[in-house]
């Protein structure tokens, strides 16, 4: 009778330990796979930048070019109008001077703030470049976080035994070199 109880208790204990080991091993494997996923995620973001930004810049430049031609045409037209008037300006009376002056400033005013769409494109380009760089940075950050979780599990007590048994090792963090740590100069 006592033997039976002892056998039952011991077998429950053994099962519990076994379940614990399985649980720890599975969590280590999960962390390692998450780390691999995070590493490939960095590559995904880099490829996105490689594919996206040159196309965007080209599009924006193409549109700006098209608008540059429009702007050139407008400036030409204005200068022609001014040239025609310019020859007579010294001779025309004050009232006409003022009138033509007003007309010219109206013209100039509407030309200074034309509703050009290239603005929106540049704003969008700025946002997209900024966001692409942010995504690359965040993917590296996530890689570091996952590496830290795995290292914690590999080094802290109950799971380091399991990690030793199954040869799950520590992982390195993402490092940069000196050149990349320098402050960039923003010059226009």
């Amino acid at each position: 009778m006592v033997l039976m109880i002892a056998i039952i208790v011991v077998s429950i204990l053994v099962l519990a330990v076994f379940a614990g080991v399985i649980g720890l091993y599975n969590s280590l494997i999960q962390k390692r796979n998450e780390l691999k996923n995070a590493w490939s995620q960095i590559g995904v973001q880099l490829k996105r930048r490689h594919d996206l930004i040159p196309n965007l810049v080209e599009t924006v430049q193409g549109y700006a070019q098209h608008e540059k031609q429009t702007l050139n045409a407008v400036i030409e037209a204005r200068q022609q109008a001014v040239n025609i008037q310019g020859a007579d300006i010294e001779k025309i009376s004050k009232a006409e001077n003022q009138l033509s002056g007003t007309l010219k400033s109206l013209f100039a005013l509407s030309e200074s703030y034309p509703d050009l769409k290239a603005n929106q494109n540049f704003l969008m380009l700025q946002e997209e470049i900024s966001s692409t760089e942010n995504r690359i940075a965040f993917s590296r950050q996530h890689y570091n976080d996952s590496a830290m979780e795995l290292n914690n599990a590999v080094e802290m007590f109950p799971s380091n035994v399991i990690a030793g048994m199954f040869n799950i090792g520590k992982e390195k963090f993402f490092e940069i070199d000196e050149a990349e740590a320098a402050v960039p100069q923003v010059k226009f």
Binding site: A38, N72, K104, A108, N119, Q126, E128, S130, S131, N134
Partner: protein
């Protein structure tokens, strides 16, 4: 931990109940939704709670759709500005979120945000238009990181189940507003108290059973409510900690909390406050900012910690990991935080300022440009001053030649006009278009 408490309490209750039925006749009458229920009804109610818990995942899979329909939420398809989508994507990457996450916008005059997660892997974040008007990019990113950490920790599902438990206990005891209360009558088949007549329940056992009954039906409702609120507050702290871990920038969340609190205490229309609907009370645990705290003095009945406490803890952070948050919490309140939640590793990480933000690039702009609404507001793109600066930027990139006239006008010519003689449009002075040195700030551009 609380799940364990739930299961243990539940099983104790069921066991006691069955014991009563076996050893004595216990009649418990409670008025449930205007009709009397006897023992059989109570068993049915308890069983139906179990059934609800089992069937809940299936029901939960339709919650997001219900919410979209109810609040008329629109997704990001109609918005040309990609900022919100970009911010959400960045935070998903930082959090390692594998789920399918969509952002929806609700038209509202009150800034708020909440997140819902479904068991089938879909989740959604709801933002109001007012929130997008008030916050700038970093703060919006902090709010979205907070919501994503709610999704990652499955707080919505957890709190729903806790709420069911609270509802069950309150229903049974009749402390609901719909019920008029309950009476518990314990009648022993063999007479109460008195002598033993072959098989009677000993009186001390009866008293113990009675005490247990009182605990379940009287203390239970109050205690379960307090536990629910306490869970909600702890989860909010956890979400704050995870948000800072994802963004690595505590100032973003500090500013967001401060701005929204300032809005609710100073700027919002008091008429909006007059009535808190039942719906607001139900979902209050999920919102980013809870206004119920303005209506009650009892701190323990609030689903969110006091905003001042949240900001205090964030300000004292020396790094941006969960371990740093725990240390800051200890400094601010003297208590531990993550003891009974499932955080195994407390992390210590460095604070990083956002790598590139539009604010950094546009640091040359005069103050007040990127005031608010960088994400959504329409008048942002109509601000002439900003447009002018972007025009200048475009001109420089495209190699335009800038000439400064004596009348303080700056004229920009494409390089096609190099060497030609051109007139200033304002004062008609002749200029030859060539590079000028030392163009500094003039009065006109300072005005802009």
């Amino acid at each position: 931990m609380v799940v364990l408490f739930y299961l243990v309490a539940y099983s104790i209750g069921v066991a006691l109940y069955i014991t009563f039925l076996m050893f004595g006749e216990v009649e418990i009458n409670t008025t449930l939704v205007y009709h009397q229920v006897n023992n059989a009804g109570l068993i049915a109610l308890a069983l139906s709670n179990i059934v609800i818990l089992i069937a809940l995942p299936r029901a939960e899979n339709g919650f997001i759709k219900k919410h979209i329909k109810e609040f008329d939420a629109k997704d990001l398809a109609g918005i040309k500005n990609k900022t919100i989508g970009n911010i959400t994507e960045e935070m998903c990457i930082a959090a390692g979120l594998a789920e399918d996450l969509k952002v929806y916008i609700i038209e509202s005059l009150m800034p708020n945000a909440y997140a819902m997660s479904q068991p089938n892997g879909r989740s959604a974040i709801f933002l109001t238009t007012r929130l997008l008007e008030i916050l700038d990019r970093n703060e919006l990113q902090a709010v979205i990181a907070h919501e994503i950490s709610h999704i990652k920790n499955k707080d919505a599902n957890y709190l729903t189940r806790a709420f069911l438990f609270v509802a069950l206990l309150n229903c049974l005891s009749g402390s609901d507003k719909n019920n008029s209360g309950g009476q518990v009558r314990v009648r022993s088949r063999y007479g109460g108290g008195g002598g033993r007549r072959g098989g009677a329940i000993p009186p001390h056992l009866l008293i113990i059973l009675l005490i247990a009954l009182i605990i379940i039906f009287v203390v239970g409702p109050i205690l379960s409510k307090l536990i629910y609120y306490s869970i909600s507050r702890k989860r909010e702290f956890l979400a704050d900690a995870c948000a800072v871990q994802y963004t690595r920038y505590p100032d973003g969340l500090i500013n967001a909390l401060a701005k929204i609190e300032h809005f609710y205490t100073n700027e919002s229309d008091s008429r909006l406050y007059t009535q808190i609907g039942e719906r607001q009370k139900t979902y209050d645990a999920f919102y980013f900012f809870s206004i119920l705290s303005f209506f009650t003095d009892k701190k323990h009945h609030c689903t969110h910690p006091a905003t001042k406490n949240r900001i205090d803890v964030l300000k004292k952070m020396g790094g941006s990991g969960l371990g740093d948050y725990q240390d800051a919490y200890k400094k601010a309140t003297g208590k531990g935080l993550f003891k009974n939640l499932d955080i195994q590793e407390l992390m210590h990480q460095d604070v990083m300022v956002p790598q590139t933000s539009p604010e950094d690039i546009a640091a040359k702009l005069p103050a007040g440009i990127m005031l608010a609404g960088a994400a959504l507001s329409e008048d942002f793109k109509n601000k002439i001053v900003n447009k002018q600066e972007i025009n200048d930027l475009r001109a420089e990139i495209n190699g335009y030649i800038t000439i400064e006239c004596d009348c303080d006008t700056r004229i920009k010519f494409p390089d096609l006009y190099k060497g030609r003689e051109m007139y200033c449009p304002h004062c008609l002075k002749k200029h030859i278009v060539e590079e000028q040195e030392n163009i500094g700030e003039n009065e006109l551009s300072k005005l802009q």
